[in-house]
């Protein structure tokens, strides 16, 4: 399989060092789940990969091309932010249709695609609603529809299901899983839920306490029993959370 994404020696300092060094590579079609304690730099890492935050150290290669932040790019990358980031003055349909504009699709087609993907995330009938008139979970699903609509090579998702209830979470997990299987997209998925990661990821990356390194990279191919894997990961994250909090109180 082709290598899609290569991170080599990525590091980021804000006022404090946030990411120490992180290197990994992702092959096309993998579904990578990123785990780690609060504030360890998961969002920052995703932003670096998405090219909206420059790294302090290291390089990101996407399809063999260097990702340079703050530059006009032609990367087919879809991103679901931790917040929905919908435009409040546009209907859900127009929000989705907007991001199809750079792809040069005519209006009617953009609308049709938007309707289709809003249907996929279970928002049929809400196409004309403004974001302010639907619930937080529905907004988040609209943001997911937006990311899917551009049919990106790489889909970056930052805790996309955090504001969903258990049922919708399950539905969306299956939906993303299905889309991933049918389209063969590469997905990087940040989550706090170890169960979720184990349920949907092909690869799991556990980051350490800040400044982040890779604590553990696991192939989730069923060779280790699920329950044991979840227990191990839970133990690991407890350690890292404690370490991060211990570090903060020093």
């Amino acid at each position: 399989m082709a290598v899609k994404l290569v991170l080599s020696g990525i590091g980021k300092d804000f006022l404090i060092p946030v990411i120490d060094t992180v290197s990994f590579s992702v092959e096309a079609g993998e579904f990578v789940c990123l785990l780690g304690p609060n504030g360890c730099g998961k969002t920052t890492l995703l932003r670096i990969i998405g090219g909206i935050e420059p790294a302090t150290r290291g390089t990101v290669l996407l399809d063999g091309k260097l990702v340079v932040a703050d530059q006009r790019h032609d990367r087919p990358v879809g991103m679901v932010f931790q917040e929905d980031r919908l435009l409040p003055w546009m209907s859900l349909r127009d929000n989705v249709a907007l991001v199809l504009k750079p792809l040069g699709r005519p209006l009617a087609e953009r609308r049709a695609i938007a309707n289709r993907y809003l249907g996929v995330v279970g928002l049929r009938g809400f196409e004309d609603y403004y974001p302010g008139r639907v619930s937080g979970g529905m907004r988040q699903r609209a943001a997911i529809a937006r990311a899917l609509a551009i049919e990106p090579d790489v889909l970056l998702m930052d805790e996309p299901f955090a504001s969903l209830d258990a049922q919708n979470r399950r539905i969306m997990q299956n939906e993303v899983r299905r889309i991933w299987r049918e389209t063969g997209r590469t997905i990087l998925f940040v989550t706090h839920s170890i169960e979720e990661a184990v349920a949907i990821g092909t690869h799991l990356i556990m980051l350490s306490a800040r400044p982040a390194r890779i604590r553990e990279a696991i192939r989730n191919d069923g060779r280790v029993e699920r329950a044991k894997l979840i227990d191990d990961l839970n133990a690991m994250i407890m350690e890292e959370v404690e370490r991060q909090q211990g570090g903060a109180s020093l």
């Binding site: 998405g50 090219g51 909206i52 703050d70 006009r72 790019h73 032609d74 990367r75 990358v77 879809g78 991103m79 932010f81 917040e83 980031r85 435009l87 409040p88 003055w89 546009m90 907007l98 991001v99 504009k101 750079p102 403004y130 302010g132 937006r146 551009i150």
Partner: protein, 252 residues
């Protein structure tokens, strides 16, 4: 509109206050004479007079024309300033300083300069209106552009919207409420300022006719035209700007 609506709108305490003022006004008018303070009745008769003769439309129209041209140009230029502020950080600084200077320039400066430049013509009050309202509308727009949600622009970047697409989809809608707020204040200012500018050099408009009425000792007409001004102000506020704000807030 139901009767209840009218009752709440007219505000009984306000009506009472108006009544008191009218009584005091009448007494003062009777004490000091019609030249200093014409009676409410005389003002009302004067108002009916210009309504009947149609004089009201000519002067109000002339004033409104100047305001709309001067203020309209100011809004146009202010929007361009907002565009510049969005496109370049350097331009934002320049626009900022420029507006600060304009903001601290007195109306009178522009009135005098406009007479020198445009002589006794329509363009003098138009120019004055333009120069006075530009900083008000401009600073509002620039402030709006500065406050545009960075996270939304970032979303635009991720999805590869170009500058124009981001401007149209994100910056303009975000800034519109600032623009309308600026226009509301700006239009009120335009009305007040253009009337002052009309004292000099033109032979039509509310400002001109007020000053003329004073010269020919028809004090009641000064009051009548002041009344016209107030009415124009209130009507545009209700009709134009309230409607505009409501339509903009549709998605809220």
């Amino acid at each position: 509109m139901t009767r209840r609506d009218w009752a709440t709108r007219l505000h009984l305490p306000t009506l009472g206050a108006v009544l008191v003022i009218l009584v005091v006004w009448s007494l003062l008018s009777w004490r000091y004479g019609a030249y200093v303070l014409p009676s409410p009745g005389a003002v009302l008769r004067g108002f009916a007079g210009i309504l009947k003769s149609g004089e009201i439309w000519g002067h109000t129209g002339a004033s409104l024309y100047r305001i709309v041209v001067g203020f309209g140009c100011a809004v146009g230029v202010a929007i361009l300033m907002g565009l510049a502020a969005f496109v370049s950080r350097a331009a934002r600084g320049v626009v900022h300083d420029f507006l600060a200077v304009l903001n601290s320039t007195s109306v009178f400066v522009w009135i005098v300069i406009s007479i020198i430049w445009f002589g006794l013509s329509n363009w003098a009050p138009i120019f004055t209106t333009f120069m006075i309202t530009l900083p008000v509308v401009g600073s509002n727009i620039v402030e709006g552009v500065q406050n545009v949600d960075r996270r939304l622009l970032e979303m635009g970047d991720v999805y590869r919207l170009n500058g124009r697409q981001k401007f149209v989809a994100i910056v303009i809608p975000f800034t519109l409420s600032y623009l309308v707020a600026g226009m509301k204040v700006g239009f009120g200012l335009a009305l007040k300022v253009s009337v002052v500018a009309e004292i000099f050099g033109v032979t039509s408009g509310i400002g001109y006719i007020m000053n003329y009425s004073r010269e020919i000792l028809e004090t009641q007409m000064v009051f009548v035209w002041a009344l016209v001004m107030i009415l124009v102000m209130m009507v545009t506020d209700k009709l134009v700007f309230d409607t505009l704000s409501r339509r903009l807030a549709r998605w809220r």
